[in-house]
Amino acid sequence: MRASLRADRGGLSAEPWPDCDVDCQLGRLQLPATDSISASRDSRNNRTIAWALAQDNFTQSVTDAIGRYGTARVGLVMGTSTSSIDRTEVAYTALDDAERFPQAMRQPLTHNPHAPGDFVADQLGLGGPRITISAACASSAKVFATAKRWLNQGVVDAVVVGGADSLCLSVIYGFHSLQLVSPEPCRPFDVQRTGISLGEAAGFALLTRDVAASECVLLGTGESCDAYHMSSAHPEGLGAQLCMQRALADSSLQMKDIDYLNLHGTGTRANDDTEGRVCAELLSSNTLASATKSWTGHTLGAAGIVEAVLCLDALSTGFVPGTRNTTDVEADFSLLLDSQQRTIKTALSNSFGFGGNNCSVVFGKT
């Protein structure tokens, strides 16, 4: 990801998805072949997780934490929207005469909303509390809120947070049914924006109370609901505003203290309008704000963790990603288009989802 951002390489492509005729751009992962997943847990979503867990020595870091704290003291808060529905879709194309899945696809651990959490806990050997949060596109932002509570209360000594969503027919045709899928690479906050580009991802972080040993810290989280509509944001952005304010209050910061804002910024007309209105009101002129779904596509339940990792990378390297594809900005706040090198000390990430579910997360530097 670091290399792609710095080389100005976006992740979206028009290559068609198998058995899919929707004109769209996708942020698709080239997943390596793997034999490390048992037949009972095989799915594209779990393969995405296995691929992410194998990176950056993450699994070893978790093993070290288990060694230090004991297995029962290391928890897991996983976020997902799709879970392994990709596998359920495939199983439905192979129903037998009795309407049953073929034997090989009767996978209890896979065809359920907790599949990613169960898989990660199994892969990492975690014995602490484990849950899978599903709050649509806010899922893997909310994992930080739960993890922070668990750490503060001593429920755990360390906690793996993560998110995983994979491309599948449900999300492509689902967003297509709402007429939200753009045929071109998404252009958040552009006058000409035509909708979202979907993507897939998995990402993880290991949180402990050992702040001194860390380069970056989780400063605060804010959660809210719109209480307005299942799939349309509150027109005045009431829920968005509430969760940003709650995250700032939890961090004992004000908006002017935020150096970088990673916007929800999906590229739909309504979402960007709403978030733009809230940002015009709350943002101060010194905050860099960008919409990085233009690089990755909207990875739905994984968007929270992907954008958290982007914020953490910006904090530790000073590389602040811009907004791809957007040229003619329609927003009453300053949107960062070109990536920039600037030392930042605080970053806030917004994630808003169906069901009117919102979450903001604030990170800082030690």
């Binding site: 899919c20 297995t71 029962a72 003291r73 929207s81 879970s83 529905i85 359920t88 879709e89 199983a91 439905y92 194309t93 129903l95 049953r100 899945f101 009767r106 996978q107 209890p108 065809h111 359920n112 909303p113 907790h114 599949a115 959490g117 169960d118 806990a121 014995g127 602490g128 509390p129 484990r130 849950i131 899978t132 949060i133 599903s134 709050a135 909310k142 739960t146 509570r149 503060n152 209360q153 429920v155 027919l169 449900s170 045709y173 689902g174 967003f175 297509h176 049914s177 709402l178 959660e223 809210s224 609901c225 719109d226 209480a227 299942m230 989802g353 169906f354 069901g355 009117g356 579910n357």
Partner: protein, 285 residues
């Protein structure tokens, strides 16, 4: 075993075969849940959702919203302010079935309403809209351990916020192909108001210390085998109902609560719910 925090339970709601309100559950307990199996399951129609929306929402969403409202009313908490945690083993298998059948056909046409109802936090969305509630709300999945996992999360939130938290657990009866994955033969939903045990905004039916433990070999040596057992309802008719749904363990808690005349009556009782395949959440009252 690790002591976590104290929790209170300030109210509950329930919808299952033969019991369609808090009061009906309290009454049914007095008669030993004698007639549960004589009743047909009735679909809930939560009055907080307009009739047209109810039809679009489907059984699982209506079930969750119904018991959410019941629990708040029983505890006397402000519906517009209470944070909420929703938990289910399988989610809305009726919608999953609809989506996957449509997508297995060449034209792949989906209803936009069914699509937005397919997110696992759909009951949370309908609940917050119906209650005009902008507090935090989550769906928590823990597969067969969803009730215990949800209880832990709701307890943790109650400590963090210092306010009552609504926990809603439910699963709907399924048929092939999901019957092979996790057979659910009875639809049921349970709502609970969880407090931090000290809160003054709601009076507790009972107060417990909440602990998390592993059922594995490392901690087993100092305990008698019976201590590993998970809680099930004592009443056999209620136990039959409970065993037909992954969140059925919650009925053991409701059964205990329904038998209390006074919070102190609960003292000395211990209930255990699975929170992960080898782990449990324990409530020691």
């Amino acid at each position: 075993m690790k002591q976590l925090f104290n929790i209170g339970i300030a109210g509950f709601g329930v919808w299952a075969r033969g019991v369609q309100s808090t009061d009906e559950f309290l009454q049914a307990r007095k008669t030993g849940f004698a007639n549960l199996q004589e009743h047909e399951f009735v679909n809930p129609k939560p009055s907080a959702i307009p009739p047209k929306e109810r039809r679009r929402a489907g059984l699982m969403i209506n079930l969750a919203v119904e018991v959410a409202h019941q629990a708040c009313e029983h505890a006397g908490v402000d519906k517009s302010l209470v944070p909420s945690v929703f938990a289910s083993a399988m989610g809305d298998t009726a919608i999953t079935d609809y989506m996957c059948r449509k997508l297995a056909r060449p034209e792949k046409l989906l209803s936009p309403t069914k699509f937005h109802n397919s997110v696992h936090n759909a009951p949370s969305g309908y609940w917050t809209i119906s209650a005009e509630n902008r507090a935090p709300s989550s769906f928590v999945g823990g597969f067969r351990e969803s009730f215990g996992a949800g209880l832990l999360e709701a307890g943790s939130q109650a400590q963090a916020y210092g306010t009552p938290v609504l926990l809603v657990a439910y699963d709907i009866a399924n048929s092939a192909p999901f019957h092979d994955i996790e057979p659910v033969t009875e639809t049921m939903g349970v709502g609970l108001i969880i407090t931090d045990a000290q809160t003054t905004s709601a009076s507790n039916l009972a107060v417990a210390s909440c602990a998390y433990g592993l059922a594995g070999s490392t901690e087993k040596t100092n305990r008698t085998p019976s201590e590993d057992a998970l809680s099930t309802p004592e009443n056999s008719a209620l136990n039959t109902l409970a065993s037909a749904n992954p969140i059925g363990g919650a009925l053991a808690l409701l059964e205990m609560l329904a038998g209390l005349d006074d919070p102190d009556d609960a003292q000395g009782q211990t209930l255990r719910f699975s929170a992960a395949p080898e782990a449990y959440v324990e409530l020691k009252f």
